[in-house]
Symmetry: C2
């Protein structure tokens, strides 16, 4: 198993950048701990540590929008990774946008530039 520097941060978490493997679009950033890293390598599906829920998180466990791992890059310091993925369902963000980065800075404000793929109410069954 490839070791990463999980001990570098006091919470044992490292950032994982998630990139669509064909287009290069950055979909999201999430955090991994040792268990989620090992589960990702073992299963070929992206697993994270949910900081808000304090638990192991198989991305797509609620929505079905699983991320299939196509490649994994590791940085020079071994404290950040890139997951190159195939995003099932076409959208990574819980808001329904293809990417969590659906807004960009323009004229001192944030402007929506992304594309909405699904309605969160229908996928997650809440308002």
């Amino acid at each position: 198993m490839i070791d990463l520097k999980f001990s570098k941060n006091t919470d044992g978490l490292l950032p994982a950048i998630v990139q669509e493997y064909e287009t290069g679009e950055i979909l999201m950033l999430a955090y991994i701990n040792k268990v989620s890293w090992e589960m990702t390598l073992k299963t070929g599906k992206a697993h994270y540590w949910s900081r808000s829920r304090g638990k192991l998180w198989l991305k797509g466990e609620s929505s079905g929008h699983v991320q299939i791992i196509r490649d994994i890059l590791v940085d020079c310091d071994e404290d950040t990774v890139v997951f190159k993925v195939e995003q099932l369902g076409g959208a990574a963000c819980h808001t329904g946008y293809r990417t969590c980065f659906y807004r960009h800075v323009k004229g001192g404000d944030l402007q929506v530039s992304g594309e909405k793929i699904f309605d969160p109410k229908l996928v997650y069954g809440k308002k």
Copy 2:
């Protein structure tokens, strides 16, 4: 000035993903605090907070390899940004590779897949 959720993390730092604006290649991940965010917006050059040196860091201040901001994306939670940049000098990593993510996982090990652009000894003047 656009507000980000710097208070979300106890150290007041948020991750900034750095992406080459033309190719979509992910070059590095660094951290920003409020001051480096404001300096980036004001100057159009990527500024970070160096966790190892504990100081504001204009990327390229030693190497000359400044990152010119071409676009900035902000995520749904306002706790992560993408800097789309033009990387002067052609390489972002202090090791001399174009990207810090110059290795990928292959067969349970790390394999170099990136391209070395410069010799760190010549650029930084140290062994």
